[in-house]
Symmetry: C2
Subunit: 233 residues, 2 copies
């Protein structure tokens, strides 16, 4: 049975890295032995080692042993034997390109299907959707496809932002961009506000955290979904 | 000699479509007979016909005859014979994919090199840069490459936005995103604020409009450039 923890952001304003998710992370990963961190999204262009040190250091504070996947001798084999994976945020295109180029995406998808615990934040949550077509990131590298893990049957838009009614800026709002997405794609899109996360067990999806989420489907008005079990159809 | 007019946005707050650019547009295109509009960026998912009607209607108000390129019998031939092209804004990925899929990008590049007058706004200005890697748009379709016209030897970030010092949002600022771009790409990036445009004649690039522009180069602090001739190196 699939087991996913998908956060809109790794950090909420004014609190340390991952701090607001501590209880969830412990619940998700405690008792699972071989945990790997996927640092490929490289926020701010930081190195894999730097990023893995940050995430694995935080997990270690909480008593969880996690290693950077990039340091393993055989990355596919490490994924094949993993009990849990955390994919950190950063640039979604950089993340996806690395997973395609190193032929890891299929293996990661298989392991998620088999019930390996998966956690993502930001770009790592985007990756869990059907495609990365609703990322907010700049396309700073070119992945061979935008198809993602498809661990949930919809797309995620992390860091979802409501339109600012006072803005004079003429660039598209997030809602406009997602409507454009639906001119070319059929899957639903869940706009996940910072501080929200999803718990997925099998086909059951639960919205957690203090905020409602915004649900976009092709040709329909967007609606707000309250925290709790989601009916997405 | 190359002749480009590259605007950050088609519309500034509180004014009609293209209105603030009227004098520049007339200067750029008057006396040129065969003008075509490229509607492929489809803002809001609108149809090619709808978009061409909007842009060609505005040009007609100003006494300029322009037709939608998409309606021509042979699009490559039409481009080959064009005296001027205006590429409207919308979604950069949709625009670029259509140009690749219909094998028009090379022809457009050639005509720009030959001195055909080119105008772009937003996505259409992005297209004039070396790549679309600094677009703000969502990757709602997958182009086979992010390489663009390369009509200027740098990348453009249209609708450039300064960081909001009061924001509690944890998503990356525009400046952070462009710095990430430079972890993977070497060309400079010009952040063009709404209301700014570039006039390019041959290798001379002039910043026009009321704002400074922000110039990002790999490994350097970004700098502000005043309106007037730009030295970009």
């Amino acid at each position: 049975m699939k087991r996913l923890l998908l956060a809109s952001t790794s950090t909420v304003h004014g609190r340390p890295y991952l701090d607001y998710l501590k209880e969830e992370v412990l619940d998700h990963f405690t008792g699972r032995d071989r945990l790997f961190f996927i640092p490929f999204a490289r926020p701010g262009g930081m190195s894999h080692d730097q990023y893995a040190a940050l995430a694995c250091g935080k997990f270690a504070e909480w008593g969880l042993k996690m290693e950077g996947l990039h340091r393993q001798t055989d990355l596919r084999q490490a994924l094949a034997e993993a009990d849990g994976v955390f994919t950190g945020g950063g640039n979604t295109f950089v993340l996806l390109k690395e997973l395609y180029d190193s032929d890891l995406l299929g293996m990661l998808r298989q392991r998620v299907e088999e019930g390996m615990a998966y956690m993502g934040s930001s770009a790592g949550s985007n990756l869990a959707g059907m495609s990365v077509g609703t990322t907010n990131d700049m396309p700073i590298v070119h992945p061979s496809s935008f198809e993602a893990l498809g661990a949930v049957p919809f797309n995620i838009n992390p860091h979802y932002l409501d339109p600012d009614p006072n803005s004079t800026h003429m660039g598209e709002t997030r809602e406009t961009r997602i409507k454009e997405f639906h001119a070319f794609n059929s899957q639903g899109v869940l706009g996940l506000r910072e501080g929200s996360w999803l718990r997925v067990q099998g086909n059951a999806v639960e919205l957690c955290g203090p905020h409602t989420a915004r649900w976009f489907t092709a040709g329909q008005e967007a609606i707000e979904l309250a925290p709790g079990p989601l009916k997405l159809s």
